[in-house]
Amino acid sequence: MALRMWASSTANALKLSTSASRSALASPAFSLARSFSTVLEGFKYASSHEWVKHDGPDHLGEVVFVELPEEGKSVSQGNSFGAVESVKATSDINSPISGEVVEVNTKLSESPGLINSSPYEDGWMIKVKPSNPSELESLMGAKEYTKFCEEEDASH
């Protein structure tokens, strides 16, 4: 899919969290200036496919509507915080980490397609202040995630 949803928000979350509490984060500093692979180094990925675009069929298609939470709302790891609509289907968006929503990308209400066209930059969805930075340890790094996607597609 549309697994391209989270990388930008992760980047931003890390930025925020880094400024708030540097020592808590074990993730390496990311670099958007590096070569643009579809699975970016330095980002972390969830098994429910939030974070990055899978280099294969676009499973969801064009996003036509995004439903996002309000600022201040809590999100928890693995649970839904919103939804995207693509043609006929709504699909839950699951949070890779727990925390508080500190900012919501209001551009997405007028331009939901940014999630498809600019997943690492303008298509970010929410910024989260992590409540439990150790959750980042349970997420996958780029290579691990790429392998996970290949295995998942091969099994269907």
Binding site: M1, S48, H59, L60, G61, V64, F65, E67, G78, S80, A83, E85, S86, V87, K88, A89, T90, S91, D92, N94, D153, H156
Partner: protein, 264 residues
């Protein structure tokens, strides 16, 4: 007996819930609850709904999709449902078929919109074998080049729902409440509603369609008959479904939006 038991070994279990004339809002609430709080597979067939009702998808904008003044004048209820997709007007001539499944239920099926859509079309292909030129065209069920069934889905982390409203019959006058949508499949080619849709009753009787559908479901699942009370028993009481009736005030505000949009 032994033969049928052997045939059914390994097939996933599905609860078959047959309803008749249940109001569409009640059906949508039931579906959303079962999607979110049940861990069973369900096939729900609702044979007609009582009152003509307009049902929009989750992001539907009334001012773009509906002839609101006529709707308010004639007191037609408008619902926003929890699944994606377009706008339909449903009534006693509509037959609803819904599948709610765990993501690993159907072997080899990825829980994304297109695979689920394709899987469902293979099931209905069995129903229409020898009856009509049935196919899945973009995301619609068609006979020839005319739509007779509209689909919508909602996909969660571990489950999905795929539901269809089948036009067994419809009132021509009701189609007048719907505008030509901005977002339409290519094969529609700007045809208005009456040139674009067809009635299933011209091909198959109501009871034959339902019986054949159940038979097709039974070829892929082990059917267990369920009653409405069974469905309610399994439901978590805290869950609040999101499908809802739009208030007249909201529809009035939508008229205002469309007027100001056309002036600006």
């Amino acid at each position: 007996m032994a033969v049928s038991q052997t045939r059914n070994l390994g097939l996933p279990l599905i609860n078959l819930l047959r309803l008749k004339g249940v109001p569409i809002l009640q059906q949508l609430h039931l579906e959303e609850r079962l999607l979110r709080t049940s861990s069973d597979n369900w096939c729900i067939i609702n044979d007609g709904t009582i009152d003509p009702t307009i049902v929009m998808g989750v992001s539907g904008k009334p001012q773009e999709l509906l002839e609101i003044e006529s709707i308010l004048r004639d007191d037609i209820p408008v619902i926003r449902r929890f699944t994606g997709g377009g706008t339909v007007i449903v009534d006693q001539g509509t037959i609803f078929v819904t599948f709610i499944c765990n993501k690993d239920t159907v072997p080899g099926l990825q829980s994304y919109p297109q695979p689920i859509m394709s899987w469902s079309s293979l099931l209905y292909k069995k129903v229409f074998q020898g009856i009509g030129d049935f196919r899945l065209r973009e995301n619609d069920y068609v006979l020839g080049d005319r739509k007779f069934g509209g689909n919508a889905q909602s996909i969660t982390k571990n489950r999905w729902v795929h539901h269809t409203s089948f036009l067994w019959d419809y009132e021509i006058s009701n189609m007048g409440y719907l505008k030509l949508p901005k977002r339409a499949p290519e094969y529609r080619q700007a045809r208005d509603h009456l040139e674009f849709i067809c009635r299933m009753k011209d091909y198959i009787s109501r009871s034959s369609f339902i019986d054949s559908t159940i038979e097709a479901v039974g070829s892929e699942f082990l059917l267990r008959s369920a009653e409405l009370e069974d469905a309610h028993c399994t439901l978590g009481s805290k869950f609040e479904p999101s499908s809802r009736l739009l208030r007249k005030q909201e529809l009035g505000e939508a008229i205002f939006k469309s007027l100001t949009a056309s002036q600006s």
